[in-house]
C-alpha cells in the first residue's frame, strides 16, 4: 500500500494537473480550488478508508467517488474499505495507522464526540476554510456543531440517518387493532406491545446478542420520556440528579423486553427486521437504515410498512451521521481538500444519499431523486425542533465513555438488573476517566 503516493506517477499527474487546475478554477469551488491552483498541486494518490461494503452502502460510496472523479479527473483513488459493521474493524485499522503517523488521506467517522480522541491529539486538520459561506448557510446549526467538537470545524458530514423511528408492519398492527399514531409516549407503547402480543405477534423485534441496539433503545426512551434536555445533561456527565430518570427509562426497557423477539439473543438486527417484514413482529425500533431492507424485500412504504417517530419524541430528529476528516500528516493534502469540499456540495449529497437511504445534511438538496420515505424524512428534518446526537452511534460521548456504557449494557443484558445498571450509567463518565 502506498501512503505517500508514487513518484513514478508524478509525470503523468503533472500532465493532467493543468486541466484539473482550469476545471477547479472554472467550477468556482472556492478556497480549496484556489489553494490547489496556487500550489500548482498535482494530486497525490487519494486513499479513502470506510466501512461501507454492504450492498446499498457500497453503491452509494461508489456513486460519491464517481462524482468526485468527474469533478477532479486528475485524482487517482485508492478505495480501501475496512469491512465491519459500524466501524468495528475500521477503528482498529485507522487508530493504529494514526499512531504510526501514516494515516490515510481521509476516513469515515461519526462526527461529534467520536472525533475527540483525534482532536485531543491534534491529528485532524481544521477544515474551516473548506466550509464556504454557501455551505454554511445550507447546513443546520446543530449539524455544524457536531462537526466541530472543539469549536473548530474538522469534519464534513455527508449524510444523516434518524434514530428515533418506530417502524411497523401495517397489516399486523391493523390485525391487532393498534393505531400507531395514537401511541403518545413510551408507556403507551408498552400497552401497544402487549396488545400485539395478545394477538399472537412479537411485540417488538429486537436483538440482544450485541448491546448496541439496546443502548439506542434506552437513549431513545430517555429522550422520549424526559426530553432532550435531560439527555444532554446526561451526556455532558452531569448525572448527579438524574438517577430517577435513568432508572425509569431502564425499567421501561425491561418491561419492553417481555415482548422482544423470543430469539433476541441469537439474532442480528436485520434478522429482527426480517421478522417485521415476514409479519411475525409488529414493531421495531431502529435507525432509518432499516428502510433499506424493506426496499430490497419489495416491502411497500405506507401500504405494507410505515413508521412514526418513537412515541414521545415528535419534533426530535436524533442524528446518526457519517463524516469525512483530514488527518495529519496527510499523504495527499490537495486531493483530500478537494474531496472534502466536494462532499459538502449538493451534487455529492444528491448522488450519495438516495442510494444510502439517508437524507442530506444540506437542506437545499432537491428532493426529486429521493424515494417518498426519505422525502418525508427530509421534511421532518427541516421542521424538527431538536436534533440531539446519539450515544450508540458515537456522536454524543467520547469513545471511552461509549465503550463503558456498552459494557454496562452487556451486563444489563445478562442480568436485567436495573439498580446495578443505573449506577453503572450514572458513573460511566467517571469510570472512563472523564
Amino acid at each position: 500500500m502506498t501512503h505517500n503516493g508514487a513518484r513514478s506517477r508524478r509525470a503523468y499527474l503533472k500532465a493532467t494537473a493543468t486541466g484539473t487546475a482550469i476545471l477547479v478554477g472554472t467550477t468556482g469551488l472556492g478556497q480549496a480550488g484556489a489553494s490547489a491552483q496556487e500550489e500548482g498541486a498535482d494530486f497525490e494518490e487519494f486513499e479513502i478508508v470506510h466501512w461501507w461494503t454492504a450492498g446499498g452502502e457500497e453503491e452509494a460510496l461508489n456513486a460519491l467517488l464517481e462524482g468526485y472523479q468527474e469533478e477532479y479527473p486528475g485524482v487517482e483513488i485508492d478505495n480501501n474499505p475496512a469491512p465491519g459493521g459500524a466501524g468495528s474493524a475500521l477503528d482498529a485499522a485507522v487508530r493504529s495507522r494514526v499512531v504510526d503517523q501514516t494515516p490515510p488521506s481521509t476516513f469515515q467517522i461519526w462526527p461529534g464526540e467520536s472525533l475527540r480522541p483525534y482532536t485531543d491529539a491534534d491529528i485532524l486538520e481544521s477544515v474551516e476554510d473548506l466550509w464556504d459561506d454557501e455551505m454554511r448557510e445550507a447546513y443546520l446549526e446543530s449539524v455544524m456543531d457536531v462537526a466541530s467538537p472543539d469549536d473548530e470545524l474538522v469534519s464534513v458530514p455527508i449524510n444523516i440517518h434518524r434514530l428515533n423511528n418506530l417502524f411497523y408492519n401495517v397489516e399486523v398492527v391493523e390485525d391487532a387493532g393498534i393505531d400507531p399514531d395514537g401511541i403518545e409516549d413510551p408507556t403507551d407503547l408498552l400497552d401497544a406491545l402487549e396488545t400485539a402480543d395478545e394477538a399472537g405477534y412479537t411485540g417488538m423485534a429486537h436483538q440482544t446478542s450485541s448491546e448496541w441496539s439496546t443502548v439506542q433503545l434506552w437513549e431513545t426512551v430517555l429522550i422520549a420520556e424526559h426530553g432532550v434536555e435531560t439527555f444532554e445533561q446526561y451526556i455532558a456527565g452531569e448525572t448527579d440528579d438524574l438517577e430517577e430518570e435513568v432508572r425509569e427509562s431502564l425499567e421501561l426497557v425491561v418491561d419492553y423486553s417481555e415482548y422482544f423477539s423470543p430469539d433476541a439473543g441469537a439474532i442480528a438486527w436485520d434478522e429482527g427486521n426480517a421478522q417485521v417484514i415476514g409479519g411475525d413482529a409488529a414493531f421495531i425500533h431502529q435507525g432509518d437504515w432499516a428502510a433499506g431492507q424493506y426496499g430490497e424485500a419489495d416491502f411497500e412504504y405506507e401500504d405494507e410498512w410505515d413508521f412514526v417517530p418513537f412515541p414521545g419524541s415528535d419534533g426530535v430528529y436524533s442524528l446518526v451521521m457519517d463524516s469525512f476528516v483530514m488527518p495529519t500528516p496527510n499523504p495527499s493534502p490537495a486531493a483530500t481538500e478537494a474531496f472534502l469540499s466536494y462532499c459538502g456540495t449538493v451534487d455529492a449529497q444528491e448522488r450519495f444519499n438516495p442510494i444510502k437511504g439517508s437524507i442530506p445534511p444540506r437542506t437545499d438538496v432537491p428532493t426529486d431523486e429521493f424515494p417518498p420515505f426519505l422525502q418525508d424524512q427530509m421534511d421532518d428534518f427541516e421542521n424538527s425542533d431538536e436534533q440531539p446526537t446519539t450515544i450508540a452511534h458515537g456522536s454524543a460521548v467520547r469513545p471511552e465513555i461509549k465503550s463503558e456504557i456498552e459494557e454496562t449494557f452487556s451486563r444489563f443484558l445478562e442480568t436485567w438488573d436495573v439498580d446495578d445498571t443505573t449506577q453503572g450509567l450514572l458513573q460511566a463518565h467517571q469510570a472512563a476517566g472523564y
Partner: protein
C-alpha cells in the same frame, strides 16, 4: 510448539559436533578439559618460542585432501576461527535477528508500554514507569471476570477436546471400514474459519429456529431448550462446545498418530494376560500416549488463550461478563478505548499465561535432552 530460538541453538550445537567430527576432533563439545589443556600447551609453547609437535600434525581437510596443518600460533584466534557458533553464523544470525527484533523486541516494547500511562492517539511518553496498570486490574471487575472466563475456557475446552479426540481416535483405530472418510469428516471443522463457524453456531443456538432446541424439542426434552447464546449460565458453555467441536478432530489426528506407534504386541500381551478392553486402554495404551497428549494440550491451551475471533464474531467487543475473555478485553481496551497501556498490560498477562503453559513442556524436553 518448540521455540524456534531453541531449535536454532540445538541445530547450532549439532553443527558444532559435525564440524568437529569432520576436522578430526572427537571431543564433540564434551571434553572441555582436553581443550583447556591444548590451550594451555599453546600458550606455553608461544612463550617458549617453540611449537608443540601436536600442532604440526597433518589434519584432514573437510574436502578430504591431506594437508600439512598451518602452524597454529595463537590459541584464541584458532578458537574463534573454529568456534562452532561463528562457523554456523550464517544459519543462526538471520533468524536470531528477525526473531529478536520482531518477536522478543516487540514483547519487550509491549512490556515497556504497559509500564507507562499511554492512552489516546498521541505518542507514548517514556518518562515515568510504574505498575499502575497492573494494580488497576485487581480492582477492575471486568478484568476479574475476563480472567476467570479465560481460565475456565482453557481448562474445560482443553479437557473436552482431548477427551473427545481420544475417544474418536480409539474408535477410528478399530480397523473400521471407511476409516479415511471418517477421519476427514472429523477433521473438516478444523479447516473452517472461525468467522464461518461462529455464524453457523449462532444459527444452531437460535432458541426458536436453531437446530439444537428443535432437536431437544423433538426428543421431548423441552425443559433443556435454552437461550444458549444469551443466558449468562450457558454463554461460556456454548462457546466451549462450539470450539470443542472444531478442535476435537485435530486431537483425534494427534492421538491416532500416537496409537499407530504402539506395537500390536502390547495389545496382544494385554489380551493374553486377560485384561478387559477398558483396562487395556487405561493401563497399557493411555500411558504410552503421554507425548501426544502433551503436544495436543499445548496447542489447545495456547489457542484458547487467544480464542478471539469466535467470540468477537458472535458478540462483538463487549460479550458481557459471562463470556468476556482476556483477548477480547485487550482488544476492547486498546482499540475501542485507546487505553494502550492498559491493553498492553492485559497482553502481558496473556503472555505470561502462555509461558506458564509452555514452560513445563520446554523444561521437560530439556530434561530429556531433546532441546
Amino acid at each position: 510448539m518448540i521455540d524456534p530460538l531453541s531449535r536454532t541453538l540445538a541445530r547450532t550445537r549439532w553443527l558444532h559436533r559435525r564440524i568437529r567430527a569432520r576436522v578430526g576432533r572427537t571431543d564433540g563439545g564434551g571434553s572441555e578439559r582436553s581443550r583447556r589443556e591444548e590451550t594451555e600447551r599453546n600458550a606455553k609453547s608461544e612463550t617458549e618460542g617453540q611449537s608443540s609437535t601436536d600442532d604440526r600434525r597433518p589434519r584432514p581437510r573437510p574436502d578430504g585432501r591431506e594437508t600439512v596443518r598451518a602452524v597454529e600460533t595463537d590459541g584464541w584466534l584458532a578458537r574463534l576461527r573454529w568456534s562452532a557458533g561463528l562457523q554456523a553464523a550464517i544459519f543462526w544470525v538471520p533468524p536470531f535477528v528477525l526473531m529478536g527484533w520482531f518477536v522478543y523486541g516487540a514483547i519487550g516494547w509491549n512490556f515497556l508500554i504497559s509500564l507507562t500511562d499511554w492512552s489516546g492517539l498521541g505518542q507514548p511518553q517514556y518518562e515515568t514507569f510504574n505498575l499502575e496498570m497492573y494494580a488497576r486490574m485487581l480492582e477492575d471487575r471486568s478484568f476479574v471476570a475476563a480472567a476467570r472466563n479465560t481460565v475456565v475456557l482453557l481448562i474445560a475446552f482443553t479437557g473436552a477436546a482431548l477427551g473427545i479426540g481420544l475417544l474418536l481416535a480409539i474408535l477410528v483405530d478399530q480397523g473400521i471400514r471407511f476409516e479415511n472418510t471418517f477421519r476427514t469428516i472429523y477433521l473438516l471443522p478444523m479447516s473452517l474459519s472461525f468467522v464461518v463457524t461462529a455464524i453457523f453456531w449462532a444459527w444452531m443456538y437460535n432458541p426458536e429456529t436453531g437446530m439444537i432446541n428443535v432437536v431437544l424439542g423433538g426428543l421431548g426434552a423441552d425443559a433443556l431448550a435454552m437461550n444458549w447464546m444469551s443466558d449468562p449460565r450457558t454463554k461460556l458453555f456454548s462457546i466451549i462446545l462450539a470450539l470443542t467441536w472444531q478442535f476435537s478432530g485435530y486431537c483425534m489426528i494427534v492421538y491416532l498418530a500416537g496409537l499407530r506407534t504402539i506395537p500390536d504386541a502390547h495389545y496382544e500381551a494385554a489380551r493374553v494376560d486377560g485384561a478387559s478392553t477398558v483396562r487395556m486402554y487405561w493401563r497399557v495404551i493411555l500411558p504410552q500416549l503421554q507425548a501426544a497428549t502433551t503436544s495436543a494440550a499445548i496447542v489447545l491451551m495456547v489457542f484458547s488463550l487467544k480464542a478471539f475471533d469466535f467470540i468477537f464474531v458472535m458478540y462483538g467487543d463487549t460479550p458481557g461478563p459471562s463470556a468476556d475473555i482476556l483477548a477480547v478485553m485487550m482488544f476492547r481496551e486498546a482499540f475501542s478505548r485507546t487505553n494502550w497501556a492498559y491493553g498492553s498490560a492485559i497482553a502481558m498477562v496473556l503472555f505470561l499465561l502462555a509461558l506458564a503453559v509452555i514452560a513445563p513442556y520446554i523444561y521437560m524436553q530439556y530434561r530429556r535432552g531433546e532441546l
